[in-house]
């Protein structure tokens, strides 16, 4: 039963997540946090933070980790299979047909109409994360950390792993200070 749930939790985002791995993040959150309750928003954000600090595709890092946490090594394998296999099999099977119509407007349009939906899903998730942070750190600290990390990531173009590292360090230092 748990393996079937793990499969579904990653199969659905894999099969409707147009726009690559990042597009599937909110879809995975929907299954993992909202539907199955395997994690809360805070825990999911830890997985995402670490996932963004490590190299490699984000979707498989989430599938492998969540699968492992819920069902051990077999769970990880099932999660990865769910995330990767359906779209890959589809691609291998349809490549010949797709290739024939690769210049067709409609084929090019498939992934375009989905972009606004993904934008809304990620936007809502962003709000969720801000509210979670506000509940644990308070509004002022949340705002300071958001502005600082925005400047580091977007203005000074620091590596995401470095910014996450600095946030962890900040958390550790302020945590010791409070204690």
């Amino acid at each position: 039963m748990i393996y079937w749930q793990i499969f579904l939790a990653f199969f659905i985002p894999g099969i409707v997540g147009y726009g690559g791995g990042p597009a599937s993040i909110p879809l995975v959150e929907k299954e993992v946090v909202d539907r199955y309750g395997w994690m809360n928003t805070q825990e999911f954000s830890e997985v995402l933070a670490l996932g963004n600090s490590l190299p490699g595709p984000i979707a498989t890092k989430m599938a492998g980790y969540v699968g492992y946490a819920e069902g051990g090594v077999l769970g990880a394998a099932v999660g990865l299979f769910g995330a990767v296999a359906p779209s890959l099999i589809l691609m291998i099977a349809l490549m010949a047909i797709l290739f024939k119509y690769k210049d067709s407007r409609e084929v090019k349009n498939i992934s375009k109409v989905v972009k606004p939906v993904i934008a809304v899903l990620i936007g809502v998730m962003t709000l969720d994360f801000i509210l979670t942070s506000e509940a644990s750190l308070g509004g002022i600290q949340t705002a300071i950390l958001m502005v600082a990390s925005y400047l580091m990531l977007e203005k000074w173009k620091l590596h995401p792993a470095l910014v996450i590292g600095l946030a962890l360090l900040y958390g550790a230092v302020t945590g010791i200070f409070i204690a």
Binding site: I12, G14, I15, V16, G17, Y18, G20, S24, P26, K30, Q42, S45, E46, L48, A49, P55, G56, P57, I58, A59, T60, G64, Y68, V84, S87, L90, M91, M95, F99, S104, E106, V113, V114, K115, P116, V117, V120, L121, I122, G123, T126, F129, I130, S133, L137, Q141, T142, L145, M146, S149, L153, V163, I164, L168, G171, A172, T174, G175, I178, A179
Partner: protein, 189 residues
């Protein structure tokens, strides 16, 4: 379709291991790294074939990096190539992820460790906010402002107000695009 080129397993492993380990920032970052190995170093594909593969993989759902790895592996060495390419690009970072999060979980009850994970949430929120804006810009580029905003508003209503599962909305939109195309193609043949 499958051309067995006598591609060595070790070459496949190294090419996709590199792609997995050097691609920071998720799947799309992997595209240029893979190109260096697949096209330039090992000549498994021409530049044009590689470009077509990326364009077509974008019309399919799911993570880009694994679609590319699996498909290219399959093209050059059949099922063996597909499995090797997938394993080499996925497994190393998944193992790292499990190890590191495992360590973090173990010290969760230590207050300052718990505070570390609190401090990370706003940073992730910023990353997601930037990603949201990216997708809004991509929507505008693909559809123009008026259609993009219309779809954004409709999505908010359907997903957040009415609580429809996003999978249904996405499937419906894809059908809307594809049905006229399929009808036309069937009529022609």
């Amino acid at each position: 379709m499958v051309k067995e080129q006598g591609v060595k397993s070790i070459d496949l492993t190294m090419a996709f291991f590199r792609a997995g380990m050097l691609g920071f920032g998720g799947g799309p970052a992997v595209i240029p790294i893979m190109q260096r190995d697949v096209v330039e170093r090992y000549s498994w594909m021409t530049d044009e074939e590689y470009g077509d593969t990326i364009a077509l993989s974008n019309t399919m759902p799911g993570p880009i990096a694994t679609k590319l790895a699996g498909y290219i592996g399959y093209r050059v060495a059949g099922l063996r190539g597909c499995l090797i390419a997938l394993a080499a690009s996925i497994i190393p970072t998944v193992v790292l992820m499990i190890l590191l999060l495992g360590i973090l979980q173990n010290y969760k009850d230590v207050p300052w460790v718990a505070n570390m994970s609190n401090a990370v949430v706003p940073v992730v929120a910023v990353m997601l906010g930037v990603l949201t804006w990216n997708f809004i810009q991509q929507s505008e580029k693909a559809l123009g402002w008026s259609k993009a905003i219309l779809l954004l508003v409709v999505s908010v209503i359907l997903l957040e107000v009415l609580g429809i599962h996003p999978a249904f909305l996405i499937a419906a939109l894809i059908l809307l695009v594809l049905v006229p195309f399929i009808k036309r193609t069937v009529r022609r043949t």
